[in-house]
């Protein structure tokens, strides 16, 4: 199996493959040849120079690397080419198993307007809004759904390419901006418009399908985010009424079933806590960064399941056999400086000590001496705590964070420590606006000396 990714997810995928007795070839850029996953894989091939556009994002090179190294499957991880219909189609053409959904499914959910239409057809509520065809029509639509509105790229996702429009006078300018950004980032200038929900909770449902049947593995609460980038994730979303969670899970399954979805996927919703209703945001047709919290509470190995269904095997279990055990929380440790507007920080990690112990899992590719390269995302490690209750889980994570020490690059560890001391977070009712408020209120909160250490 060719692993077309890097960092912690490359480690995660190689581990799963090893347990299944599958040999791995890591496709690595020049900058990643001397990393833990490169040493961990059975073989590493260098696919190009450091910039992702010259290496990790090259469909043809990835296929050539798989063919040339004798791999008959490609795992794309997350990011990079994980939701590239081109890669999925090229795999199908080259008789290589793409470990993910079919090319057609990737294409459909990648087109946010088509995904909206499928949600509507499956009886899944969507946020009021629709396609933008002209300025005049956008004006009418925005007036109809009510300001503020959000302009989104049809080919976008993951929070990129969004523009908030507060009042009618801003619409024309923002529309031009959104379209040109969408064209630049996704080669697709189409945008659509939705009502902007200021105070929502970001709830997402993990689904798993084998092309015939679909099961859900519960939901995750990912409301702790900044500029649409998640920082802390929990499973399950215990702050929501159980009836709402049941409705979300059922809606996600209906959506995936209508696609006859194959693989692991996530259906994202915005939950309006005040009104108690939810609406469909998008579907992510890949393994997600935060998948370990779902693995912790369900005991299902999602990467193994991905590989199995990509091989054409049935899921092997039904909804009734999925059970939930306790609560899990993940902290994303990023090499970025919260005191300097989350500026990514690069350099060499002099010392890295990660927590361990009962109920603690750390997914990382970092060790003492690892270089944090400026070419890729700033994720250094994920700390996952699992305990019988949310309260016990919070305590476990607090201590785990104290047992984590990273020296050489600035990380957001201290920010995590502060969040876990915050009564508002502890109460468990925060919305997507929480983190920005929290950071602003504690501006200058994390000078470098305050990074928790073992000493």
């Amino acid at each position: 199996m060719l692993v077309a990714n890097r960092g912690e997810i490359a480690m995660r995928v190689i581990r799963a493959a090893r347990e299944l007795g599958i040999q791995t070839v890591l496709a690595a850029s020049e900058a990643d040849l001397d990393t833990l996953p490169a040493r961990y894989a059975d073989r590493t091939v260098c696919i190009g120079p450091a910039p992702a556009g010259d290496s990790y994002l090259r469909v043809q090179t990835i296929i050539a690397a798989a063919v040339g190294s004798g791999a008959d499957a490609i795992h794309p991880g997350y990011g990079f080419l994980s939701e590239s219909a081109l890669l999925a189609a090229a795999c199908e053409a080259a008789s290589i198993a793409f470990i993910g959904p079919t090319a057609e499914q990737v294409r459909v959910v990648g087109d946010k307007l088509r995904a909206r239409a499928i949600a509507e057809a499956a009886g899944v509520p969507t946020t009021p809004g629709g396609a933008v065809e002209s300025l005049e029509q956008a004006r009418r639509l925005a007036a109809e759904v009510g300001y503020p509105v959000l302009l989104k790229a049809v080919g976008g996702g993951g929070g990129r390419g969004m523009k908030r429009v507060g009042q009618p006078a801003e619409l024309a300018e923002m529309l031009t901006l959104a379209a040109s950004e969408a064209r630049a980032a996704f080669s697709d200038p189409r945008v659509y418009l939705e009502r902007f929900v200021a105070c929502g909770r970001h709830i997402e449902v993990q689904v798993l399908g084998d092309g015939e049947s679909v099961v859900h593995l519960g939901e995750r609460d990912c409301s702790i985010q900044r500029r649409y980038q998640k920082v802390v994730e929990e499973a399950c979303a215990v702050a929501l009424p159980f009836a709402a969670r049941k409705a979300l899970r059922a809606a996600a399954v209906r959506f995936a079933e209508s696609l006859r979805y194959r693989g692991a996927g996530t259906v994202e919703f915005l939950y309006d806590a005040a009104r108690g209703d939810f609406s469909f945001l998008e579907m992510n047709a890949r393994i997600q960064v935060e998948h370990p919290v779902t693995e912790a509470v369900t005991g299902v190995d999602l990467v193994r399941a991905q590989i199995a269904v990509a091989e054409g095997l049935p899921l092997g279990f039904d909804q009734a056999s999925v059970s939930f055990d306790g609560h899990a929380i993940e902290c994303r440790i990023n090499a970025e400086d919260p005191a300097r507007d989350f500026l990514p920080n690069t350099g060499t990690i002099a010392t890295a000590v990660f927590p361990s112990g009962p109920g603690i899992r750390v997914d990382t590719y970092v060790e003492s001496g690892t270089r944090i390269s400026p070419f890729y995302d700033s994720l250094v490690a994920k700390i996952i705590a699992h305990a019988p209750t949310r309260q016990q889980c919070l305590v476990r994570m607090r201590h785990a964070l104290k047992g984590c020490f990273i020296d050489g690059v600035v990380t957001n560890l201290a920010l995590h420590a502060a969040i876990f001391e915050d009564p508002e977070f502890e109460a468990g009712a925060v919305t997507t606006g929480y983190l920005q408020r929290f950071v602003s209120a504690r501006h200058g909160l994390v000078p470098r000396e305050d990074v928790p250490s073992l000493r």
Binding site: E30, V45, C46, I47, S55, T61, A64, G68
Partner: protein, 152 residues
């Protein structure tokens, strides 16, 4: 009349199948000098071997070469793909050990999904070793051909 690379390769194939060891063609436009590597050099013949690349017009016969092994230069793969040492199966390789190359001389092809990318030497020199194997996967940055600087 100008010779292109394919013409030269065709002539090379003819020479290979013949009983002759050496071929010289001189016209007003070009001089072409081909020699099989197994042949021993003639005393009055410059040992330069031109293969896979048309001789530049008006080029004077190359002076006798010796290779300075202390100054080696690696031609590296500019991309990952399948390396081909010759233009098509069965054809003679673009370069052999001893070949004199300049920066535009094609030393091999890297195929990426049916797209053939010619790899040029990028610098002048004498082929000391063809490292990459025909038909094998080469990685980005892998050494394909090793050149020595020629000293006259």
């Amino acid at each position: 009349m100008n010779l292109n690379q394919e013409d030269v390769l065709a002539i090379l194939a003819l020479l290979d199948g013949s009983d002759f060891d050496e071929l010289r063609i001189e016209t007003a436009d070009y001089k072409l000098h081909l020699r099989r590597s197994s042949a021993s050099p003639l005393p009055d013949t410059p040992p330069a071997l031109i293969a896979g690349s048309p001789a530049p017009p008006d080029s004077a016969p190359a002076p006798a070469q010796t290779v300075d092994d202390r100054e080696l230069f690696d031609i590296k793969a500019p991309m990952l793909g399948t390396f081909y040492a010759s233009p098509q199966p069965g054809a003679p390789p673009f370069v052999n050990v001893g070949a004199v190359v300049d920066e535009d001389t094609v030393v091999g092809i890297i195929e990426v999904m049916k797209l053939m990318n010619a790899v040029c030497a990028g610098t002048g020199g004498v082929v000391v070793e063809v490292v990459a194997q025909d038909g094998q996967l080469v990685e980005y940055g892998q050494v394909l051909v090793r050149l020595g600087r020629s000293t006259s």
